[in-house]
Amino acid sequence: MSRPPHRDYAGAKLGMWLFLFTELILFGGLFLLYAVYLARYPHEFAAAGREMHLAFGVANTVILITSSLLAAMAVTAVQRDDRRTTLALLGGTILCAAIFLVDKYLEWGAEIGRGIYPDSPRLAAGPPGESVFFSLYYLTTGLHGLHVLIGGALLAVVAARVKRGAIHPGDYVWLENGALYWHLVDLIWIFIFPLYYLVL
């Protein structure tokens, strides 16, 4: 009765994509709120957007795009059976994730230092639209940061599997799915960046 366990490469990838769709919709709820409140408070949103540090945003955009490149190259490397390069590229991706989080920490720290955080006295005294903008900003980037953390951890697991030889040119769906998750994190940021940093 015992038959070989079922291995379905395309099925695993389909499952991962379906999961990514749910992530898109999850963030979609926040983008929905952004759209509605932007329509209601265009001037307050513009004023609040000017309070943001563009440099942090640009730096993080470049970091995430680069990390995405490294993750995509890691898939190419494993397909070419180049384990050392795969590991190096994955390490680079995880390093980018770490730099991103440090950057985010510094940015949040700077903003909180200026009295900008949900329910802060400064925002309570300001126009209502600005407090909405910053609440959404903290929730969206917070949720995104959590995804960066999860993505980094996932890629670390993937790297360990590459090292053990469990991921190889014959079976690398783990790496491919991990990279897909990482690209999603990048994809979400690509929309966060203009909406929060460039709305002037």
């Binding site: 992530e23 709820g29 209502p128």
Partner: protein, 539 residues
Amino acid sequence: MSMVERPATSSFWNDTGKTGIAAWIFSTDHKRIGLLYFYSVLGFFLVGVLLGLLLRIELMAPGRTIMGPQTYNALFTVHGVVMIFLFIIPGFPGAFGNLLMPIQIGARDVAFPRLNLLSWWLYMIGAATILTALFTGGGPPDTGWTFYVPFSARTGTNVSLAVLGVFIVGFSSILTGVNFVTTIHRLRAEGMTWGRLPLFVWSLYATAWVQILATPILGITLVLIIAERLLGTGLFDPGRGGDPLMYQHLFWIYSHPAVYIMILPAMGVVTEIIPVFSRKPIFGYKMIAFSSLAIAAAGSLVWGHHMYTSGMSDNAVLVFSFLTFIVAIPSAIKVFNWVSTLYKGSISLEAPMLFALSFILLFSIGGLAGLILGAAATDIHVHDTHFVVGHFHYVIFGGSGFAFLGAMHYWLPKFYGRRYAEKPAVVGWAMMFVGFNILYFSMMVLGMKGMPRRYYDYLPEFAPLNLASTIGSWILAAGLVLLLVNLFRGLFRGEPFGNNPWGGATLEWAIPTPPSTENFEQDPVVTHGPYDFKRAGMP
């Protein structure tokens, strides 16, 4: 597992050689996970029934009967949360979807068996979190199952923890959806074309898509409530520029489609039962499959009809009211196809069929009441009255609940190898049917007369019908007890149940009773449709 000896043939109950509780709660076999889900949701169903009975006793007479207003608020909230998030949403996909879908498409298991197990664990962890919320912090939530702001953002009861529990249950539901869509795409047996898929599988497929595309919105909405309470984000607080109506939009963007998570698989069950007990192929296979997808799609466009009296713009009321009527079309397609299948069929009125037939009637009553609510002009009068309570109990209990009981009588004997006694099942069904209509029809009349929902007290002129409704709830409960005792007595000690006593043509009836862990000795090759009784060898 059971004290009673299983049939001697080897089956998924014993063929892995693993016994004990760990072999169940860590099993990746879809049938074992299906049974885990089944007993979990059934347990929560009974809790919900008990709470419902208590609510009815409180409403038996005006004024305080057995509980104060705060207890009443907590009880209707918990009744709703348990019945919706812990029973009926995970119920069909988790229990019967897991038990049957892989077999019906000719697969050995779902696409991701370990993820499937994780879904059940997340469900249990979420449920435990919700239960913890009832007894800790500021006490059980008193917001109603909808957690509407601004009250949910301010009440001192333990809303945050309960909401976290619902979030975890929602995650479990998403993973089930991902698993089922992948399974149905990738693991169909040779010859199991989309046109030969049993209609229960079609309904699960549509349901799974709703789970994938709508549940994340619930997730983010619940996160926002927690943020509102713990961080003071003020996104729904008009004092800080927020808009409470945006909460209602987000909540119903999920929770309206969630109604279709509850009802679509129930329709699938009915579509399986009716042709088998009419000895006739299903009428309009393609239209039924299509209408499942159409209901899922159209159902995602109509959330605004929960908000007619909320202060939403009149344009939106108009648009959502119009769109709501569109859902009636695919729903009616299904009803007409079921009735056409019955026409000139050789109908045998056994317990599963009785549930299926009562589903058609009760669902139709509930659905027609839904048209009254869907039309903005009439909704204004009955909004937030007992008419609404009657309406959704007709659809969800009279529809999904009765289909769930029908599925239990139709399919569980297949997995236990023993069956219940027919007569008590029919008596139990009849009691439930009578009690149900007394209980909920009275509510609809009360609502028409203007009795609001969610009040523990009411005017004296509503007393007679409330008393009738409460008595109906006792008849219903008595019938349910009889039904369940008879069913489980039968499953463990009843007459043996053969491989295909009902004469079904779907794949689960082509394998031994109970099935083996691998389901099929060899991967099956499908050569006929799911309701092609002649080519399946039935007379």
